[in-house]
Symmetry: C2
Subunit: 395 residues, 2 copies
């Protein structure tokens, strides 16, 4: 840092220079994020000062956050409860805006742990949770931080979690299960209804990681059950900053029961509120405004069109890939394609070096992983497959 | 969420309505946040899309983040190391932009735990850390999450951590100490140099929580030792979104040694990078741009003026308060005043209800807690004390 500051002009020249090195999502097929909607960016700007960590000072931003929770409760089929006094109804859901899927997953597991260890069910030994092998790497952070054991159930041939494997991992110290609704690698949805049966039978929490799928599955032609309509689902992570087209950082964690949220509370002696259940302290209200704005602007129909567009790209990609001899590992469930190609790591490298395509790789088996997002176009798909053919022709 | 979306006009009318309920920091004496600098807000807007969770796609934003780390390393006296090949030097510091002090504190403790438990020093039983009684409530979250024991050392008569109490809490399972440079309640600075001696003697980590004080102490007339100049300090939390005048969320966690940061890594199979040491996954690059921009714009002199202004308000408040018979609990070290008043909880309530003043309360002893920020004015101070007198006259 200089002793004297730089001028505004020097600084923005410096920033623009840095920005030129950032992607504008051209030829990006590896990201689950995309351009935020312009309404979201504008709302974010309007609330740039808001601090949801101090709700008494930011009652307006706080209402926007609660409206997001309410709208998502509705979207994700939270049960209705009568409010006789108000002659209306509310959704039986509670939650808050997180920084994204990782915080949501950490807090969901922390809630399980807190409620079980302070609750009536006694544990003998280290508590554990059972997650699918396909769970996001944020659960590695959970395992690293939380003093609980994270057990990984294997996948079936369709890359869904294998239910027999889940059951085999459950013991007296198991406190919860995790199912993924749109896993990062394959876009596959675990059999949440079946996991729910296992969870209810064994009195376990069931957290659904729908960070990516939450803004996709409800808008598919044939949505699979994954949300609060499934009785055993106790919490859901959903990320507006992915397919919700909001700004970063915008995640949401929803609980069916307030008791789990309550268990996360710590006292906050010097704030306008008495306690805090969030992971972070100071947190942006701009994301709440952005998410609220884009959800109200697009409505169900806007999101349905967004998902339809991405699914059309997906269908096109798979069809064109087949024409040149590449098969997907599974029929895409959402806008994620895992494509079988020879030597995927080398293909990835060359696609980037020779043609500027950003793609990624699934772990097991190794295949090209392609996420079809609103920033992609049908014309790009054709060019991508031509480039893929060129790259693989050499092998 | 409606089936059809609302119009842009309807949405911004709705947002403006919510915004009217948010504070504009008028008569706010309770917050450690303030208006972000306009340069920060503008830089934030420019990088609204940037995702530091995917560094390969956002190399420009990543450079801004590293520049922030470098500038803070310089500010906080990280040791210089020669880079013979480049004929220059670098600061021996590493770190990253967090969402704020809470994440920084959590990650610092997680680093201690990971490095000790995977390192050579064997532990018998649950690891523990020793923190001051005055530590921020984020350490309650650490205690709740991390599977380690958090021991609280008592304070001396000046509200600094008592060194004998710290030493009495250290045992074979202690992995680290925490000192606060600018504690939330009193703005007091713990004797970091003495804590450093204890840490070095016992081979412990020493994390300094300078979330608030980090952008204050270096610009005071007589700065106390609190940063990497003190040899035992292994990590520092500093929040640009407090006195750094950046946007939310902007925290920074700095480590003296890369080995601690390394210990936080988990693999990231589907990203452009191979591993991630951050707590969150997707994270905003807009904060990096905002922080980098405001630091370069203000420079040392800009921050010095900002601190001088806040300290003048502080001195004025204490002098005027004394004139009407209210004494501070301690001579303010930075821009935080703890004022002895009769029945502080009631005073707080009435200051808000009758005059719209937001103040807060220290825990032990209970006193009025006032934070003098750049949004406050000397004229306000006079009116505040008149109002305080009116409120207390009734008792």
């Amino acid at each position: 840092m200089n002793v004297q500051g730089l001028s505004e002009r020097e600084i923005f020249s410096y920033l623009e220079n840095a920005k030129s090195e950032d992607t504008d999502y051209y030829r990006v097929l590896s990201s689950m994020c995309t351009h935020p909607h312009k309404i979201a960016a504008e709302a974010h700007r309007l609330f740039i000062e808001a601090n949801l960590g101090d709700l008494g000072l930011f009652a307006g931003a706080c209402k926007l956050e609660q409206e997001v929770v309410r709208m998502l409760g509705e979207l994700l089929h939270a049960p209705l409860i009568d409010v006789p006094s108000a002659d209306s109804y509310e959704y039986s859901v509670c939650g808050y805006l997180t920084t994204g899927g990782t915080e949501s997953n950490i807090q969901a597991v922390r809630g399980m742990k807190n409620l079980i260890t302070t609750g009536k069910k006694g544990l003998k030994g280290t508590p554990n949770i059972v997650i699918p092998e396909s769970a996001h790497f944020s659960f590695d952070k959970v395992a690293d931080m939380m003093g609980i054991q994270v057990r990984r159930a294997s996948l079936d041939s369709e890359f869904k979690v294998d239910l027999a494997s889940v059951e085999s991992h459950i013991d007296a110290n198991t406190i919860g299960l995790v199912g993924i609704a749109g896993n990062t690698e394959f876009g596959q949805v675990d059999p949440i209804d079946k996991l729910s049966e296992i969870a209810l039978e064994n009195e376990l929490f069931l957290h659904v990681d729908a960070a990516f799928g939450g803004f996709v599955i409800p808008f598919l032609e044939k949505p699979q059950p994954f949300d609060f309509k499934v009785p055993g689902v106790t919490s859901i992570a959903i990320d507006p900053h992915k397919m919700g087209l909001s700004t970063i950082p915008s995640g949401v964690l929803l609980f069916r029961s307030p008791s789990v949220l309550e268990s996360l509370k710590v006292s906050t002696p010097y704030l306008t509120t008495k306690s805090q259940f969030t992971l972070t302290g100071t947190r942006t209200g701009a994301s709440a405004a952005a998410t609220c704005a884009v959800m109200k602007y697009l409505g169900h129909e806007g999101y349905r069109k967004n998902v339809q567009y991405c699914m059309q790209l997906t269908t096109k990609l798979v069809a064109e890939a087949r024409k040149v001899g590449f098969e997907p590992l599974l029929e895409p469930v959402m806008n994620v394609v895992a494509l079988k190609v020879p030597n995927p790591d080398l293909v990835r490298e060359q696609l980037l070096e020779r043609f500027g395509w950003h793609v990624s790789i699934t772990r097991t088996p190794r295949a090209l992983r392609l996420v079809l997002m609103p920033h992609n176009t049908p014309e790009e798909i054709i060019i991508f497959l031509q480039d893929l053919k060129k790259v693989t022709a050499a092998f």
